[in-house]
Subunit: 212 residues, 3 copies
C-alpha cells in the first residue's frame, strides 16, 4: 500500500518537474524537441546526479525507459497547451512544491538504502529535489531557482531531514515518508502563501572601527 | 573496413567539436590553457556524461589518453590560427554538422552495446552529440546552443533514432551507421542551407474566452 | 608525517573553497541554506566530478560525512562573518591559491593511484582544482572564474604537471607533492602580485591579403 502510494507520488513528481522544464522551453520559444530535452533533464536530472554520486549505475532510468517516455509525453502535451498552465502559474507552483518535498524524501531513502550515513542521505535528498531545477535553469539560460527569494532549498532540506531523523529513531517507513513530505511541503506552502523567507545575508560595512 | 571508417569519423568528430570549443575560447580572448580546457570539455564532454550515466567507468578517455592529446593539440593550433576559421564560419558549421550526426550514432551504439533499451540508446545518442556544446556554452558564459533558432538537437535525435530503428529491424551495423549519420547530417544541412527550423512554441493568450 | 601534512592541507583546501562558495552566496544575499549549498558544491564539487569520471564510486564524501559537515560549518560561520573576509579579499585570494595548488596535486595523486596514465592524471588534477569554482559560478549566476584575466587554470595545470613528472622520474612522493604545490602556488602568487597573465588570443583580421 505505502509502496504503491510512494510510487504514484514519485511519478507525479516526475510529471510536475518535467512540466516546469517544458514551461521554461515555452518561455524560450523552443521547438518540440527542445521541450523534450528540457522536460527530461528537469524531470530526471536530480536523480541522475544522485545515482552517479552514489555509484548506483547505470542510473535509474537506463533500465526503466518509461521515465524517459513520460517526460517526453509531458513535453509533447505541453507544447500545445503551455499557455494554459502559464495562466495558472500559482497552481503549478503548488504542484512543484509536491514534487520538491517528494523527491527530497525518495532521494534520501535511496541513499539510505545504498548504505549512506544520515548526513549524506539528507544531502542526497536535497540534490535529488533541487538539481533538476538547477540544470533546467542553466540549460535555458535563466536565473537559477536557488537564487529566488522564497524558501526552496530549505524546504527540500527539511523534508529530507525529517525523513532521515524519523528513520533513525525507528519510526515506520510510511510514517517517516509521510512526515518528511508533509514537513517539506508545509514549509514551502507557507512560504508561497505568505511570501515568507529565511533571513538573508545583508552586506555590512567592513570590520574595524565604524565611520566616525 | 566499417570499423576503421567509423573510427576515423569518430576522431574527426572530436577534432571538430574541440575546434568549436577553441573558437569559443578565442571569442572570450582566453589564454592557451583556457583554449585547451574549453576544447577538451567540448570534444569529450558529451561522451563523458554518457559513460557516467551508463556506468561505463572509468570514462572512455581515462584509458585512452590520445583523446586528451588530440583536443589539446587542436587547442594549441587554434590559438594561433583561430582568426582563419572564424572568417570561414560557414565552413566550420558544416564540419560541426558532421560531428553532431556522428556522435549521435556512436553514442547510441555505445549505449546499445551496454544493453540499454532502444529509447534509452536514442537518448544517449542525443546526450553524446549535444552536451559537449552545452558544457562549452556554460563554461564560456555564452547563450546555450540548444536555444538557437536552427534545427540542432532534432538532427541529433533523428540520427540516433534512424540508427537504433535500423539495428532493431536487423539491418547490418554498417547500413545503420551510414543511414543514421546521413539522415541527421542531411537534416542539419537543410536547416543550415535554407535557415529551416521546426515550428516553435508561440505564446498565446491564456485559456478562456478570446477577447471580444 | 607527509600523510598528516597532506591531510591537513587537504582539509585547508576544502575550507578555503567552501569559504569562496559562501562568499558568492553572500554577494547574492542568499539565506543560510543557500550558503550551505554553494559552500558544499564549491568545496567538494571538483573532487566529486573527478571520482565520477574515474569510477571511484561512491564518491569520496559519501563514506566520509565529515566533508559535508565541514563545508556546512564553514557556511554557517560565514553567514555571520562574511563581511569580514569581504573586506579582506586580498587575504582570501592567497588562501584560494593554496587550495588551488593543493587540489591539483591531490587530484592528480588520486588519479595515479587509480591507475590513470600521466596525461590523464594531470587532467584530473586540473578538474579537481578548477571545477569547484566553475560549479560555484554557474550556480550563483556569476561570470565563470576561468574567464578571468589572471593565471588560474594554468597554475593548477603546472602544479599537477610538476607532481606527475616528478613521480614518473622516481622522486619521492613527499618531494613531488611539495614541488608541485610550490610551483602552482608560486605561479598563482606571481600572477596575483603583479597582475601577470599569459598572452591572450587577440582577434586579427581574417586570412587573405592585408588591407592596402
Amino acid at each position: 500500500m505505502i509502496e504503491s502510494i510512494a510510487s504514484a507520488l514519485d511519478w507525479l513528481g516526475i510529471v510536475v518537474f518535467a512540466t516546469t522544464g517544458a514551461l521554461a522551453a515555452s518561455r524560450k520559444q523552443m521547438d518540440v524537441v527542445g521541450f523534450a530535452l528540457l522536460a527530461t533533464a528537469t524531470g530526471i536530472g536530480g536523480g541522475t546526479l544522485r545515482d552517479m554520486m552514489l555509484g548506483l549505475l547505470p542510473v535509474f532510468w537506463v533500465s526503466r525507459p518509461e521515465y524517459l517516455i513520460v517526460c517526453i509525453t509531458v513535453a509533447c502535451v505541453m507544447f500545445f497547451v503551455a499557455h494554459i498552465p502559464q495562466s495558472r502559474l500559482r497552481w503549478l507552483l503548488w504542484l512543484d512544491a509536491i514534487g520538491l518535498a517528494l523527491f527530497a524524501v525518495t532521494g534520501a531513502e535511496r541513499a539510505m538504502a545504498a548504505g549512506a550515513a544520515a548526513s549524506v542521505a539528507v544531502a542526497m535528498g536535497v540534490v535529488t529535489a533541487t538539481f533538476g531545477g538547477i540544470i533546467r535553469d542553466v540549460m535555458a539560460g535563466e536565473t537559477p531557482v536557488i537564487l529566488s527569494r522564497e524558501v526552496y532549498v530549505t524546504a527540500a532540506l527539511v523534508a529530507a531531514f525529517v525523513y532521515v531523523a524519523l528513520m533513525l529513531t525507528g519510526a515506520s517507513r510510511s510514517l517517516a515518508m509521510v512526515s518528511g513530505f508533509t514537513a517539506g511541503f508545509a514549509l514551502r506552502a507557507v512560504s508561497l502563501y505568505w511570501g515568507w523567507s529565511l533571513p538573508r545575508y545583508k552586506a555590512r560595512p567592513p570590520g574595524g572601527l565604524p565611520p566616525a
